[in-house]
């Protein structure tokens, strides 16, 4: 199959590209640096010629509300127009669990718009909603850091290893379109504060994690289970502990 990965040079994209190539597929890794810009359309229509599957793993360079919405809306529309035209048979997109509950956050609203565009496009699709990557926990910790304290809420949390995200995406890309949303998550669910604490303990022992009941995620108060799958999710095997071990120098 010919598979085009939009955002094929990114964290998830490059990994998915590698995996699909390993499986013997012809894979085009699309990104502005490889001459495929979904925002301007440059190279897009040419790249999609005779393509069977498109996986959208692009990400907005800016996380601010306006630019993020602009990015996902334009990119989504352009990719889908080009897909319809080229007769692409499957569109896979990576989204985030709970986007519909976090529309107070511009980035989440943007992801929701991206999902809706896909649903109404007419192209067979699979929307993959992932929980936060284990690799994202340091960012959460940094976000909650105030001096030597790390403030973080006890929201339900179930992070997944990026490697497994890539694996799932590759798997969905070569499967039949679900024409619906599937969820993927890490193997273990717990309070977000526990995961952050584990990370801080191994990497920044000087700091203390202070768990709170604010139910906030990056400043936005959300229902407790926002960040975990709603239904039956595909679960990864890799535990957060393994990620932490990979960070330690001796690993």
């Amino acid at each position: 199959m010919k598979i085009v990965i939009i955002g094929g040079t990114g964290l998830i994209g490059s990994n998915v590209t590698k995996k699909l190539r390993q499986l013997g597929h012809t894979v085009i890794a699309g990104s502005p640096s490889t001459g495929i810009n979904a925002l301007t359309g440059e190279g897009l229509s040419n790249a999609l010629e005779n393509t069977d599957v498109v996986v959208d793993l692009s990400n907005s360079p800016s996380f601010e509300d306006g630019p993020a919405i602009q990015f996902f809306e334009t990119v989504g529309r352009n990719i889908l127009s080009a897909e319809l035209n080229a007769g692409v048979k499957h569109h896979v997109v990576l989204s985030i669990v709970g986007t519909h509950l976090m529309e107070g956050m511009g980035y989440m609203r943007a992801k929701k718009i991206q999902e809706d565009l896909v649903k109404s496009s007419g192209v067979p699709y699979t929307i993959v909603r992932s929980t936060q990557f284990q690799e994202f926990v340091p960012t959460i910790a940094a976000g909650g850091t105030q001096g030597s304290e790390v403030h973080v809420s006890k929201l339900d949390f179930q992070p997944i290893a990026a490697e497994e995200v890539a694996l799932f995406i590759a798997r969905f890309a070569i499967s039949e379109p679900a024409n619906g949303t599937v969820e993927i998550a890490g193997p273990v669910r717990g309070p977000m504060s526990k995961f952050v604490e584990a990370y801080v303990k191994t990497n920044d022992a000087g700091k203390t994690v202070i768990a709170n009941d604010s139910n906030e995620y990056f400043g936005l108060a959300v229902p407790t289970s926002t960040l975990v799958p709603e239904g039956n999710a595909y679960l990864g095997e890799t535990r957060f502990q393994e990620y932490l071990q990979s960070l330690s120098p001796q690993a």
């Binding site: 190539r21 359309g41 440059e42 040419n46 334009t74 352009n78 127009s81």
Partner: protein, 873 residues
């Protein structure tokens, strides 16, 4: 310079370094000089060839999007394989990075020398190794070019020598690789910059050219020039969204260098393609240009003639780009090209869209100007419309010009305010006689369902021609069939609140608002035409009346004859009063020529250019005098079927002769008086006041004073009329005129029956002079007429006159009832009067009475007859 293989082993490193420095310097210079990127590889080869024998070198570049590498810089001149059948394929090919040969190159820290025989057949080895091997190449020295740690490409150095490359050479290559890498990435960057600049200057040129574009033809030239630059062979078509908003049609096109079936092209150009035809909607929905594979779209089952045309033309891929003004789609561009250059295509298209918008706006302005001109002409023309045929002509012109249509039917609302009768119609479908003969059938009822809608709306409405409408409306079905039109425009014709009628009109290009304006003007014109038609009818009526009056007057016209003293007095009075406008009252017995005198007064006045109007107040039933005088409105009384103009109105600015005014009924006298006082009147049953400038001449044979006393004539009217009385003498009082009058009538009647003028004998003349003439001049006239007819010879010798006594009509009393003395007295007075007071001598009373003059004198004294008695009248 010596080659490395021959290089003295002892030669110092210093020399080598020196040489390398020089080489790099030269290469640096070369790079700045290169025009074509391939020059670099040529120059590089030339410089290092002095060091070592090799056949050719190439540079390949890694494409990260699909992890392949492909030729970038080629030394076509030196290539050992350029005659190989697979050479062209090799130049275009992409070679995967994930195979052992190239992976080992990437993994190595520097140049790797491969003995081709060892690897050509290894699994996954790239084909170019085999191709080179087949052309006698034995070794290849592969070096990875990097920016930072990232491999960006490779330099391949090929040789046909079995012993391959020396270590020194490899060392030098390794040392110059970083420079070479940066040279290559500079080339890439330069290429990018150059491309950007080309794009910019392309778009600049294009927009310069576009500024001069005013018309579709201008646009065609500029677009063609630009698109030819992108793809000299390619064709294109710009399609514009049609006014229906649902389809698109070709606006501009070029077939490029292709050969094609002209009939197919013709068909595609004339076809309207639905926007949602499966392909065009993809483009209009997309914000980016889309690439279409013609063959695949056909395979997908899109049965569109333009796809067939492109296949026929040999166009394999087409790019489709929406043309938008702001966010609104106005059309699209289809272009046969393989590579999409987004900045250029979007730049071109946004400018084309703007230009098209301007051209359309321009065309719109021109169209509107033409419309306005048409409407202006129409407005001018329609004000001059006087007749139905004018109306037909003017309306047809404007409808043809604006909407390419005609009036199907124009109906007028009948007086019953219910029936709509056809007035104008499209003669293509109706025959005049047919409609006239079947008026009932072709008429509509205003209360009928569809028609009601028309009159309820204050603007034109569009009705679907369904069966009910078809049944009701004249031959719409035929028009529907012939012209394929399924709707009809209907508009009421109104003047203010009043409904006048309605028009039907068929057409595809009818604009409601314009039609509304036109209908308003048609309404005014229709009511003008109707009014004008009525004026014409009234005028004809008047003319008839006038003709009749003229005839009457001509008939009566005779000159006044008589030079006697009595008439001289009358003439003086006439000339005195004629010039003034004052009312004249003519008094005199019947037959004294009152009408003649009235005519003379009129003819001597400044009003003589107009006809004098006569009313005989005695000759008319009392009930009709009023309408005869003042006219009436239609329906003013039973029998007043038409409006009638009265004599007063006819006499405006002229003279009205009221003959026998003494016979006028009292009620009419009141009205007459009012008109004389106010100098204005109203028609019977009318409301508007009509100002009058009428000179009145009244005449009567009655003693009006006595009539006033008797209460039969209003005294105020009498004083109004009696401004300037002229008394006409009876004939018996002007016997001196009898001869000339008789002569006048003799010649007149002789002429009229074609005789030589009949003469009078002296006896006959004496007879006339002796007669009392109770009927005055008229009696004389009739007597002579009769006599001329009866005369057998050239001369009348005797008249048969009634006996003198019996002729007296003036005396109401029967003589037998009176005493003798009184009878005697009256008889003498009568005779005296007849003789004009002459007592004795010839023609004197004594002679007639058969007594001597003296005897008469004494009798008169005895009976107390004074002058006053016989001169009183």
């Amino acid at each position: 310079m010596k080659q490395f293989s021959n290089l003295d082993q002892n030669s110092s490193n210093h020399t080598n370094l020196e040489w390398e420095r020089q080489l790099l310097l030269d290469l640096g210079n070369d790079i700045t000089k290169v025009r074509d990127k391939n020059d670099l590889i040529v120059l590089f080869s030339d410089r290092i060839k002095s060091l070592m024998h090799f056949t050719h070198t190439i540079v390949t570049l890694i494409d990260r999007k699909d992890e392949t590498y492909k030729p970038f810089l080629l030394d076509h001149r030196a290539s050992a394989i350029k005659d190989h059948p697979e050479y062209d394929d090799m130049v275009k090919a992409c070679f995967p990075l994930d195979e052992p040969f190239i992976q080992s190159v990437v993994a190595a820290g520097g140049p790797v020398d491969f003995f081709l025989a060892d690897i050509v057949d290894a699994p996954q080895s790239p084909a170019f190794l085999r191709v080179n091997f087949e052309k006698g190449i034995r070794h290849v020295l592969m070096t990875t070019l990097r920016t930072g740690d990232q491999p960006i490409g490779f330099i391949h150095i090929y040789t046909d020598q079995h012993d391959g490359f020396s270590q020194e050479f490899k060392d030098i290559v390794q040392r110059i690789t970083p420079q070479l890498s940066s040279a290559v990435s500079n080339i890439i960057k330069n290429e990018e910059i150059l491309q950007k600049e080309n794009e910019k200057s392309f778009l600049l040129d294009f927009s310069n050219d576009m500024t001069a574009v005013r018309s579709r033809d201008d646009l065609a030239v500029v677009v063609k020039t630009a698109l030819r630059k992108l793809n000299p062979e390619g064709g294109y078509v710009i399609r514009k969204i049609n006014e229906d908003g649902l389809t698109m049609s070709a606006y501009l096109y070029d077939t490029g260098a292709s050969a094609f079936d002209p009939a197919l092209l013709e068909r595609v150009l004339s076809e309207k393609y639905p926007i949602n035809d499966g392909l065009q909607n993809r483009i209009l929905d997309s914000y980016i240009p889309l690439l279409f594979n013609v063959g695949r779209e056909l395979q997908r089952g899109y049965n569109l003639s333009y796809l067939n045309l492109w296949e026929n033309m040999g166009f394999k891929t087409m790019v489709g780009i929406a043309l938008r003004n702001g966010n609104a789609n106005i059309g699209l561009l289809w272009l046969s090209i393989d590579e999409i250059n987004i900045p250029i295509l979007q730049g071109i298209c946004s400018q084309i869209a703007i230009a098209m918008g301007n051209i359309m706006a321009n065309e719109d302005i021109l169209r509107r100007q033409a419309e306005q001109q048409l409407m202006l002409t129409f407005s001018n023309d329609i004000t001059g419309v006087k007749s139905k045929s004018d109306l037909d002509h003017v309306v047809s012109n404007v409808l043809q010009g604006l909407f390419q249509t005609r009036i199907a039917v124009m109906y007028l609302l009948a007086e019953d305010q219910v029936t709509l009768r056809p007035y104008l119609f499209d003669r293509q479908f109706f025959q005049e006689t047919e409609v006239a003969e079947h008026e009932e059938f072709y008429s509509l009822n205003i209360n009928e369902q569809h028609i009601k809608l028309v009159f309820e709306s204050n603007q034109p409405i569009l009705l679907d021609i369904d069966e009910t409408l078809e049944a009701k409306c004249l031959k719409l079905s035929i028009q529907r069939e012939q012209r394929g039109i399924n709707t009809v425009y209907a508009s009421a014709l109104r003047l203010g609140e009043q409904n006048l009628g309605m028009v039907w009109m068929l057409g595809e290009r009818i604009s409601g608002p314009l039609l509304q304006g036109i209908c308003a003007q048609i309404s005014t014109a229709v009511s003008n035409v109707l009014a004008h038609e009525q004026i014409l009818r009234l005028k004809r009526e008047l003319e008839n009346e006038n003709d009749y009056l003229k005839q009457q007057l001509n008939q009566d016209f005779e000159e006044i004859v008589g030079g006697g003293e009595a008439m001289q007095q009358v003439y003086r009075l006439i000339s005195l009063v004629a010039e003034s406008n004052s009312t004249v009252l003519l008094l005199g017995e019947t037959g004294t020529g009152k009408e003649l005198i009235a005519k003379a007064v009129h003819n001597a006045s400044s009003r003589k250019e107009k006809l004098m109007i006569k009313v005989n107040c005695a000759a008319m039933p009392a009930s009709l005098i009023e309408s005869e005088l003042f006219g009436h409105e239609r329906g003013a009384f039973t029998g007043a079927v038409e409006r009638r103009i009265g004599k007063f109105e006819l006499a405006n600015n002229s003279t009205l002769f009221l003959d026998e005014v003494g016979e006028m009924p009292l009620e009419t006298q009141v009205k007459l008086l009012r008109v004389l006082q106010e100098k204005e009147m109203e028609r019977v049953g009318g409301k508007t006041t009509i100002k009058l400038n009428v000179r009145i001449i009244a005449a009567t044979n009655r003693d009006l004073e006595a009539e006033v006393k008797a209460g039969r004539f209003r005294s105020d009217l009498y004083y109004r009329l009696n401004v300037f009385p002229i008394k006409l003498p009876p004939l018996r009082d002007r016997r001196e005129d009898i001869e000339s009058l008789a002569g006048f009538f003799l010649s007149k009647f002789s002429k009229s029956i074609g005789k030589k003028t009949v003469k009078l004998s002296a006896n006959a003349l004496r007879q006339l002079q002796a007669y009392l003439w109770p009927g005055n001049v008229r009696e004389l006239e009739h007597l002579i007429e009769r006599s001329v007819i009866l005369a057998t010879g050239p001369m009348i010798t005797e008249f048969f006159l009634p006996p003198a006594t019996g002729a007296t009509t003036e005396d109401p009393m029967r003589p037998s009832d009176l005493p003798l003395e009184e009878v005697e007295r009256m008889h003498i007075i009568q005779i005296l009067r007849r003789c004009g007071g002459k007592i004795s001598g010839i023609g004197g009373a004594a002679e007639i009475l058969g007594i001597p003059g003296n005897t008469l004198h004494s009798k008169m004294r005895k009976l107390g007859i004074s002058k006053a008695d016989y001169y009183a009248h």
